[in-house]
């Protein structure tokens, strides 16, 4: 039944999903740490719009998704500095989706194409797509790892980082850009709607399992890989969309993290109230 899982045709899928998982695990770790869940949900909608635009113009999906992710990131970074973050995020999201629906309705797309843009279609990853994916993944993983300490510092104590000469706004922009890159490369595999599930589920569990940031980051990547591999096997076996397995796995990871936290609830060194020692 599963013998075809490792056929030459499926090999690209294995490679692509693994690359996506590594990037999502690394970026997602900071998404959870910085509480940027909503942004991580909104940026992929930009990628969706870009993919729709690309279909309309007949250009590469990856290019369209990349350009529109970048637009979404720019809008978030520019407007998010003033005004409320969640409001700006919601508005960018609906602008992107509405524009996407305009492209879809003006063009003559098939619903099937919309479906795969939203929910992904990993089994059809082509070899032409693989190398740009690897390049993008390397870029965004590199971006996060290079600014690892700055991201950690601005996540933990923004005012401290500002005093140390690190501009939280600049760090935030680069971070959003990393989300945009991860989104772009994950879009054809997992789909616009479920990229963020892959970004928050594994890191949420990893964060609860260990207090050391480096270990948590590694664990997050590992869990993301496990998630995509399991999803790929599930999708191959059942022919159901990959996104379903990713979404369900994210919920399971979250519950696992909550359970681990509740189970290992030892006397903490710092009580919640009344002490900052």
């Amino acid at each position: 039944m599963l013998s075809g899982l490792f056929s030459a045709f499926m090999l690209h899928s294995w490679e692509a999903t693994s690359v996506v998982a590594v990037a999502a695990g690394v970026v997602g770790f900071f998404v959870v740490l910085r509480g940027s869940t909503f942004a991580a949900h909104a940026i992929p909608q930009g990628a969706f719009t870009g993919a729709a635009a690309a279909a309309l113009l007949g250009t590469s999906t990856l290019l369209g998704a990349g350009v529109f992710s970048f637009l979404a990131v720019g809008a978030l970074a520019r407007w998010g500095r003033r005004g409320r973050h969640d409001v700006v995020t919601a508005l960018v999201l609906v602008i992107m989706l509405a524009t996407g629906s305009l492209f879809l309705s003006v063009g003559s797309q098939y619903a099937q194409q919309t479906f795969s843009l939203l929910f992904g279609e990993p089994l059809a990853v082509s070899s032409a797509y693989l190398w740009p994916t690897v390049g993008l993944a390397a870029a965004c993983t590199g971006l996060v790892l290079v600014s690892y300490r700055r991201l950690l510092l601005t996540s933990a104590a923004p005012e401290l980082a500002g005093a140390g000469g690190v501009s939280p706004a600049a760090v935030n922009f680069w971070f959003l850009l990393a989300i945009g890159a991860a989104t772009t490369l994950a879009l054809p595999v997992v789909g616009a709607l479920l990229v963020f599930s892959l970004m928050i589920g594994p890191p949420a569990a990893a964060r609860s399992l260990t207090a050391r940031p480096g270990v948590a980051l590694g664990l997050s990547v590992l869990l993301a890989l496990v998630t995509t591999w399991a999803a790929l096997v599930g999708a191959y076996w059942s022919n159901w969309p990959l996104g379903f397995f990713v979404g369900v796995a994210a919920v399971l990871w979250y519950l696992l993290g909550r359970g681990a936290k509740a189970w290992g609830h030892r006397p903490r060194t710092a009580p919640a109230v009344g002490s900052s020692r």
Binding site: R84, P267, V273, G274, S275, R277
Partner: protein, 322 residues
């Protein structure tokens, strides 16, 4: 507002004639006013008996006992992490108590007659809520249903705002007030519920010297004229030195409590900290010197207290201390 004098708080309860006392020279005026009522005749408002609190498996407070009568001002002193906020939350009933009990006079049902001003309220500048709305929510914020405008409520709100010298801020958005202004509005909010006891968590943090002095004078005035007991936490004892009737001094989860002059003493604080502590009086200020290096890790707040650099109080009448 004009410099040394504060606008005299109005007295919705009618406990004392408004503006009867000159408030500018705070410590002496306050003490003079206070001496007129012997402590024995005051009604107790807050009674804390053998209070213990455990949080996350750690004993934050143990065996804290003190009481507070109406019209008294008490300082809750301690460095960061000493358990000041925990104690205030326990009095409010927001933190479960593991030992002992807390009782607030006249408390029936779920809502004890306590007004609370939290330490840090971060507000969005766009919040469409004016100072008068916030004070009104102090009167009826817990009620169900839509609020109906009424002249009586409006008058009460303006009286409360005037009482804290913030009537001119009534129509400003709360998110756009300065720290000191917001503090006053929050005090008006807390007073709106008609409390017998007013709790303030670090009301002097983030205020400049003048605003801090004004705030202390205002709270003293409220206590004296409206007969409300005031308990405020601070990490520096000096700004309260002239007005404080009682001290609850927290260190390491334990407390030394009593009249100010009986607690802020070398022998009492030495036994609280478990090692020698010097209490020096110089130029009307108190310098608490906690010389042990082992306690330096309590946080930098130990340093200003011991160095005594913060307050620039007018000379309090030493004889007035109890």
């Amino acid at each position: 507002m004009p410099d040394p004098t504060l606008p005299a708080p109005a007295t919705p309860t009618g406990a004392a004639p408004a503006g009867a006392l000159p408030i500018g020279a705070v410590p002496t005026g306050a003490d003079a006013g206070r001496r007129t009522t012997p402590p024995g005749q005051r009604l107790p408002v807050l009674d804390v008996e053998g209070l213990g609190v455990r949080l996350g498996g750690r004993q934050v407070l143990s065996d804290v006992s003190f009481h507070l009568c109406q019209g008294e001002v008490a300082g809750l002193i301690g460095s960061n992490g000493a358990g000041k906020t925990t104690l205030l939350r326990a009095v409010l009933g927001l933190t479960p108590v593991s030992a002992g009990h807390v009782s607030v006079a006249g408390s029936r049902g779920r809502r004890p007659p306590v007004g609370y001003v939290p330490q840090k309220v971060v507000l969005d500048p766009d919040l469409p809520i004016r100072a008068r709305d916030l004070v009104q929510l102090g009167q009826d914020g817990h009620r169900w249903g839509l609020p109906w405008p009424s002249a009586a409520k409006r008058a009460a709100t303006e009286e409360l705002l005037a009482g804290v010298g913030a009537l001119h801020l009534a129509d400003a958005r709360v998110g756009q007030l300065s720290g000191g202004e917001l503090q006053r509005v929050l005090v008006a909010h807390a007073l709106a519920g008609g409390p017998r006891l007013l709790l303030l968590d670090e009301p002097l943090a983030n205020l400049d010297l003048r605003s801090a002095r004004d705030t202390v004078a205002l709270l003293d005035c409220i206590a004296r004229q409206q007969g409300i007991a005031v308990l405020m936490s601070t990490h520096d004892v000096n700004p309260l030195m002239g007005v404080m009737d009682r001290v609850v001094y927290l260190a390491g989860g334990r407390a030394a409590t009593g009249p100010t002059a009986d607690v802020v003493r070398s022998d009492v604080l030495s036994s609280l900290y478990g090692h020698h502590v010097d209490v020096l009086h110089a130029h009307g200020r108190v310098i608490v010197s906690i010389g042990d290096d082992a306690h330096r890790d309590d946080g930098c707040d130990a340093v200003p207290a011991s160095a005594g650099v913060l307050a620039d109080e007018p000379e309090p009448s030493r004889s007035g201390w109890r």
